[in-house]
């Protein structure tokens, strides 16, 4: 059966890709290739985080740069204080998680768009505050002075491993009873509550997990670049990118952010570098097109093609089961 092959493929393909990425440095790739994969992986991790909250639970945030930036700054400051970078990543995560509670507690109590709108303000407010804080150098930025020599391959591996961890976390959540509850909240919050799910706490926790992942991603970014400033890590742009990645790939699915991240990485590298003036236009149009034409993103598109293909080879029965594994996402008509 086609669906069984698809399932088997979806089980083995990730491990294969992971192995390829692990072995890649043996072939002495160019520094640019390594940088590209590093950057893409970091974006993918943040995208996976956003997707857990926005895609799976249906709570759109326009302010994930806050967690990315806080993670970056916390990591940077801990490294400068002489801590091991890996310990510093955990510090970045902790700060991001704390911040997520501050944002979530007042806004998740209510149904409706409060959270989404508030996140626009949170990003704005945080950047302003960071621009004016002296200990981190304010708007002019903060430099990391790491004692160890720069080793690009180490950075590369930390990003790859983080991405794998994020994927495992994401797929565990999607398959768990918690994930089922989150999907229910996205579809109908009141009905979920009537079955014993506590929407407020569920949203608060998934927001924390998402923020934690994004915070570590920010930390990795900070360590690699050794210099960060609020106009970069806290920029509204950063929030847009983190949101776009899962939307492009397929919102609410495990692999959507990965696919979206790869496409995003290539687009950034090939198109935006050559036409820097139109990136907002490009990303805005992508959003509009996806919302109106293919709400399930690239994965949805692939799915549709596969179904078309399968129908031609005359097979109709069992599409539901693998729909659940792949495409529990989508944004058509879902409530917030």
């Amino acid at each position: 059966m086609a669906s069984r092959t698809a399932r088997r493929l979806s089980m083995t393909l990730p491990w294969f890709l992971f192995l390829v990425l692990l072995l890649l440095p043996l072939s002495h790739p160019s520094a640019n290739t390594v940088r590209l994969i590093f950057t893409t992986s970091v974006w993918i991790v943040a995208g996976i985080g956003w997707n857990l909250l926005g895609g799976l639970t249906g709570q759109v945030s326009f302010g994930f740069a806050v967690f990315y930036g806080l993670g970056a700054y916390a990591t940077a400051m801990m490294i400068n204080a002489g801590r091991s970078p890996y310990f510093a990543f955990l510090g970045g995560m902790a700060i991001a998680v704390l911040a997520s509670f501050l944002v979530g507690m007042p806004t998740f109590r209510l149904r409706g768009p409060y959270f989404a709108i508030a996140t626009i303000g949170v990003g704005e407010a945080t950047r302003v505050v960071m621009n004016n804080i002296d200990i981190t150098g304010g708007a002019s930025g903060y430099r990391i002075l790491e004692k160890r020599a720069f080793n690009q391959i180490e950075h590369y591996y930390s990003a790859i491993v983080l991405m794998a961890i994020a994927l495992v976390i994401s797929s565990l959540i999607v398959r768990s009873k918690f994930g089922l509850a989150l999907r229910a909240i996205k579809l109908d919050e009141d009905a979920a509550a009537a079955l014993g799910v506590n929407p407020f706490l569920s949203k608060l926790w998934i927001h924390a997990i998402a923020a934690g992942l994004t915070g570590v991603a920010g930390g990795l970014y900070a360590r690699y670049h050794a210099f960060i400033y609020p106009g970069d890590v806290f920029a509204f742009q950063t929030s847009i990118y983190i949101l776009l990645i899962p939307v492009i790939g397929g919102i609410g699915t495990v692999w959507g952010p990965v696919l979206g991240g790869i496409v995003f990485g290539i687009v950034e590298e090939e198109l935006v570098v050559h036409f820097p003036n139109i990136h907002l236009l490009l990303y805005g149009s992508i959003l509009i097109l996806i919302v109106l034409l293919e709400p399930d993103g690239l994965l949805g598109l692939l799915h549709r093609l596969a179904r078309l293909f399968r129908r031609r080879s005359e097979d109709s029965g069992s599409k539901q089961a693998d729909e659940v594994v792949w495409g529990s996402g989508g944004l058509e008509g879902r409530e917030l």
Partner: protein, 297 residues
């Protein structure tokens, strides 16, 4: 501070509240009727500012006339946007993910178009009036602020009359109160939605043009006003123009007075803090307000 300082600040807040109300009302009607949080509102505000600027620059048209012209121009623009994009959204009685992302995407597009046309420098509209002020006893009021205030208030009064008296106003109000029942009694929701979106956009363009007389602007002009508009809606509710005016006044007072103690760059943090405080102190009030409309099953 002396008593006249206080009076000065209060008058300042009042003048600011006028334009804030005009700015928020566009977002309010769209949210009320269509349950869409119009993030492109920020883009419309910004375009309104450039609209007035271009008319002033090319045809030496007084910006206040530019603002008046923005009303019909942006009304048509809004209807076009609705016809082209918004009407394809699945209808819902709560804001959806897709509507948020769609309007967000459209805002990005508008921003980019503005960058292409006008670059990222700050523009401002300077008329002989810009620096003059009027003296009322001990208190002096900038002429522009006063003109903007009067224009905003007049527009709100006209809107209130439209709301109460016309066919369109009645269908809008009925859709805000109970979408199902209105459709049963024959309110054409598609047509009303299209007109509403036009009206909301018209007010955004109008308010943007007025704001351009007060502040300098660039393609990212609308963003800080987006959150302000929403805070005002949350404070004032969807019931009436007067609610919006009240919300605008509270925000304006708060901003004007906090500027005395906090640096101006912290302004965005203020509207956010206000939102959080309101949500914490009176969540039931607002939630009740929203819910009453959401489900009367």
């Amino acid at each position: 501070m002396t008593a006249s300082d206080y009076l000065d600040l209060i008058i300042k807040s009042l003048l600011l509240a006028g334009i804030y109300a005009a700015m928020a009302v566009g977002m309010t009607v769209i949210y009320g009727v269509m349950k869409i949080v119009n993030l492109a509102h920020a883009g419309f505000l910004m375009l309104g500012a450039y609209f007035a600027y271009e008319l002033f620059d090319k045809f030496h048209l007084d910006p206040i006339l530019g603002a008046a012209l923005a009303l019909p121009a942006f009304f048509l623009f809004g209807m076009a946007v609705h016809w082209l994009l918004v009407r394809w959204l699945p209808s819902s009685d709560t804001p959806t993910l897709s509507s948020l992302l769609l309007m967000f995407g459209f805002w990005l597009v508008l921003q980019n178009v503005a960058y292409q046309c006008w670059g990222n420098e700050d523009y401002s509209i300077l008329t002989p009036r810009t620096l003059s002020s009027m003296q009322f006893g001990e208190i002096s009021v900038p002429t522009v602020s006063l003109i903007v205030f009067v224009a905003a208030v007049v527009s709100l009064i006209v809107l209130q009359i439209v709301f109460n008296k016309s066919w369109f106003g009645r269908s809008m109000r009925s859709l805000i109160q109970n979408p199902y029942a209105s459709q049963i009694v024959g309110v054409d929701d598609q047509k009303t939605a299209r007109l509403t979106f036009g009206l909301g956009t018209a007010f955004a363009g109008f308010a943007g043009a007025l704001l351009a007389m007060l502040y300098s602007f660039n393609p990212d002009f609308g963003r800080p006003f987006l959150l302000r508009s929403f805070v005002i809606i949350v404070l004032g509710g969807l019931e009436s123009v007067s609610g919006v005016a009240l919300g605008a006044l509270v925000l304006a007072l708060l901003e004007t007075f906090t500027v005395q103690v906090l640096p101006a760059s912290y302004q965005p943090a203020i509207s956010f803090s206000l939102l959080v405080v309101v949500l914490i102190i009176m969540p039931k009030g607002i939630a009740g307000l929203m819910q009453r409309r959401l489900k009367v099953t």
